[in-house]
């Protein structure tokens, strides 16, 4: 069987697998079956592969296999100038390009000691929060899709389109925006951006109510997700899980509050927490977070209008040469605590570029969560982690 040849399975799985292949009728032979899910599978969110050991429909063990989308971004960055790295960060977690940009430029600004103008910071906050809403919409839609509901997916995509249209207005790109620059943003918000954004913000509560009507309140949805995929607070902390998954376990950790960056200390918002640490909590937290993001954007828009026009870019030399040293910046990305570590040797290129991918780290707890559940639950639990393979494999 190709499964065994292509990877070495966990030690305790190996002998059992041999028995399965030997004909399985031997004394003490397991009644399990190895199911290879992915890398090509409708709900593996890209090219994730899970080697699932099944007893009937019940999962005995799971071994995640990642790396199919590895592009060596961290190494590539060493051969580019500081500014040229920004487009690479878009392609890590490609659902939240703005947030990725932000983590990187913040690290470089810290390293080079660059002060970002207030207007640029406000625009960054607006973009980052819009991107969070957009990423969570993607999550809500695909979570429903993985559970068998096709309709909410398209509802979510309607608002995602609106947000992408706004991105397109601001920077010409929709998915891989590369909008942020070291020391500011690429260009000022165009005319007509703010009215369109306000329209969206006004409609958003109704739309969220729609998702609640069509998905959250659905009896079957609740039966499928409540109590499924429990992850204890201790395990979550031990695996250094962050983001909505950690908050679903009741741990109040949000980088925006715990280590405020940009202008977040200025805004009034709450960090929703879960209690049951199950798939439903992980889903519902994201709905609540969207509401909070709407609040932040509303405040940021107001602040931006009060501030009036101004510079959007600090004075940064064309060929930036940060002083030798290192810097680490982290932000609350939609997936969790996203960190960027950069080392400079005083040259025009990063000496080392390192990414702390929340998706990858959150994914490590998958086997803990799915053991003993059914195949269908595996999908529900896996979808609840909300990974983007671009970030997992880098």
């Amino acid at each position: 069987m190709s499964t065994r040849e292509s990877l070495s399975l966990e030690p305790e799985l190996e002998p059992r697998l041999k028995l399965v292949e030997a004909g399985s009728h031997a004394e003490g032979a397991p009644r399990t079956m190895i199911l290879n899910m992915g890398p090509q599978h409708p709900s593996m969110h890209g090219v994730f592969r899970a080697v699932v050991e099944l007893d009937g429909e019940t999962i005995v063990n799971v071994r995640p296999v990642v790396g199919y989308l590895h592009r060596g971004v961290e190494k590539l960055a060493e051969a580019r100038t500081w500014a040229q790295v920004i487009p690479y960060t878009d392609r890590l977690d490609y659902i939240s390009a703005m947030n990725n940009n932000q983590a990187y430029v913040m690290a470089v600004e810290k390293l080079a000691g660059i002060e970002v103008p207030e207007r640029a910071e406000l625009i960054r906050v607006i973009m980052a929060e819009l991107n969070r809403i957009q990423s969570h919409l993607m999550f809500v839609g695909s979570f429903g899709l993985d559970l068998g509901a096709y309709t909410p997916f398209l509802y979510c995509f309607r608002e995602r389109e609106a947000i992408y249209d706004l991105f397109e207005m601001a920077c010409g790109a929709r998915l891989t925006t590369s909008y942020l620059r070291i020391g500011g943003v690429a260009r000022d918000l165009p005319e007509g951006f703010l009215p369109k954004l306000k329209e969206l913000l006004k409609a958003m509560p109704d739309h969220i109510q729609e998702y609640n009507n069509v998905l959250t309140g659905n009896e079957i949805f609740q039966a499928r997700t409540k109590g499924v995929g429990y992850l204890s607070r201790e395990t979550a902390l031990a695996y250094s899980i962050t983001g909505p998954m950690l908050r679903a376990a009741g741990v109040n950790y949000d980088v925006r509050k715990a280590d405020p960056y940009s202008l977040y200390s200025r805004f009034d918002f709450e960090v929703p927490l879960g209690q049951n640490s199950d798939s439903f909590d992980r889903y519902y937290l994201r709905i609540l977070e969207m509401q909070q993001s709407v609040r932040i954007v509303e405040q940021a828009v107001k602040a931006l209008e009060e501030l009036g026009p101004g510079p959007i870019q600090a004075k940064v030399s064309r060929l930036l040469k940060p002083p030798a040293g290192e810097a680490y910046a982290h932000i609350e990305s939609p997936k969790g605590d996203l960190g960027c570590y950069v080392v400079s040797d005083g040259g025009t290129k990063p000496y080392r570029f390192r990414w702390r991918p929340p998706s990858f780290i959150n994914l490590q707890a998958l086997p803990e969560m799915v053991r003993g559940w059914k195949i269908a639950d595996f999908i529900a639990i896996f979808a609840g982690v909300d990974i983007v393979l671009g970030e997992v494999d880098r």
Partner: protein
């Protein structure tokens, strides 16, 4: 309407043929072959319409348009798809159990097609008004499980196998409350013949007397046809495409055809048993056509509700599906049997 009772198409057409000098045995064979062909045409047309209807309905519920480019209002989209699928390569996996793999779609399609033999489309439009029509319908309905199981096993694919197993577990379990819920109707009508059951609803539709039975049968019908929320055998996000993962071309088309034909048959049965079948006001214009129109309108309404559910609900888990049958539906169906007995007693007292 009552005057037409017992005047099946069989006697009429065979009688007409023998009148023309055709021997009895030949007339019987000709009738059956002709009826079979007619049913094939009917199924094809109905399925073409159902696929179009599903796409349009789901489209509008999902903020989309549905097909609207191919032909007027996108009506030819399904035809175009059918042509495409028929010209595709028929792939049989090297490791498949060939005879079983090749036979499976035909078993599924055959058992579905047989369901149409007992559907009373209009007072005389029933191919075979057998006196155990209901039993016949239930029997061939559950035969589908065989075909799906064969597909799951013969594909030699783990997803297919799990899908096939799920399907068998589901269909076999849902047979129980389904048959029990039909018991009430059979008791009230006093017959198992589908034509007779429609006739018995002359005054009052059975949905009014058997609301519980209707609900149970509707749910079981969804499970029987593998539709949301019971679409586990093909559960796309889990099992890729379930039992039909390895199928392509014409063989896949047969599964697809059977799926839609099956949902129509179940809806038609719901109409027959609970919604008064072809009963409805007959207008002077083309009086012989109206019963058929009423039958189709009611059936398509039931199909509409099925697709409505399909576009708004999600899939249950296998253990939830099982506990729903055995712990909820079976006791309710038994309760329904008792209610039916009570109703029968009341009817007898009134003397109706």
């Amino acid at each position: 309407m009552g005057a037409h009772q017992g005047l099946g198409a069989y006697q009429a057409i065979v009688g007409w043929m023998t009148g023309l000098g055709v021997p009895d045995w030949l007339a019987g064979i000709l009738y059956r072959v002709g009826a079979g062909l007619l049913m094939m045409v009917f199924i094809s047309v109905v399925v073409l319409w159902l696929i179009y209807m599903l796409r349009k309905e789901m489209g509008h519920m999902q903020l989309r348009m549905g097909p609207n480019v191919t032909g007027p209002l996108g009506l030819f989209q399904t035809v175009a798809d059918a042509i495409k699928i028929l010209t595709k390569e028929d792939i049989i996996p090297a490791a498949a159990d060939r005879p079983i793999f090749m036979l499976a779609p035909f078993v599924v399609f055959f058992s579905t097609g047989m369901l149409y033999m007992v559907l009373p489309l209009a007072p005389t439009w029933i191919i075979n008004n057998v006196n155990v029509g209901l039993l016949f319908f239930v029997a061939f309905g559950s035969l589908t499980a065989f075909g799906i199981m064969m597909a799951g096993w013969g594909s030699n694919n783990k997803y297919s196998l799990v899908g096939g197993m799920r399907s068998v577990a589901q269909i076999v379990s849902y047979e129980v409350p389904m048959v029990l819920s039909l018991l009430g109707v059979a008791m009230l009508a006093g017959t198992l013949s589908t034509g007779g059951i429609v006739g018995a609803q002359r005054h009052v539709w059975f949905i009014l007397l058997q609301p519980l039975g209707f609900l149970i049968y509707f749910l079981c019908g969804l499970a029987e046809t593998n539709q949301t929320p019971f679409d586990l055998p093909e559960g796309e996000s889990e099992l890729v495409s379930g039992f039909n993962t390895e199928y392509s071309g014409m063989r896949f088309a047969l599964f697809y055809l059977a799926e839609f034909a099956n949902s129509f048959a179940i809806s038609a049965m719901i109409t027959t048993l609970f919604l008064g079948g072809w009963h409805g006001p007959v207008l002077p214009f083309l009086p012989w056509l109206w019963p058929f129109i009423w039958f189709m309108v009611k059936t398509l309404l039931v199909v509409f509700v099925m697709y409505w559910i399909r576009s708004t609900w999600l899939r249950l888990r296998i253990d939830q599906v099982m506990s729903l049958t055995w712990k909820v539906l079976v006791p309710l169906a038994l309760l329904n049997v008792f209610i039916s007995v009570g109703e029968m007693a009341i009817v007898r007292v009134i003397g109706g």
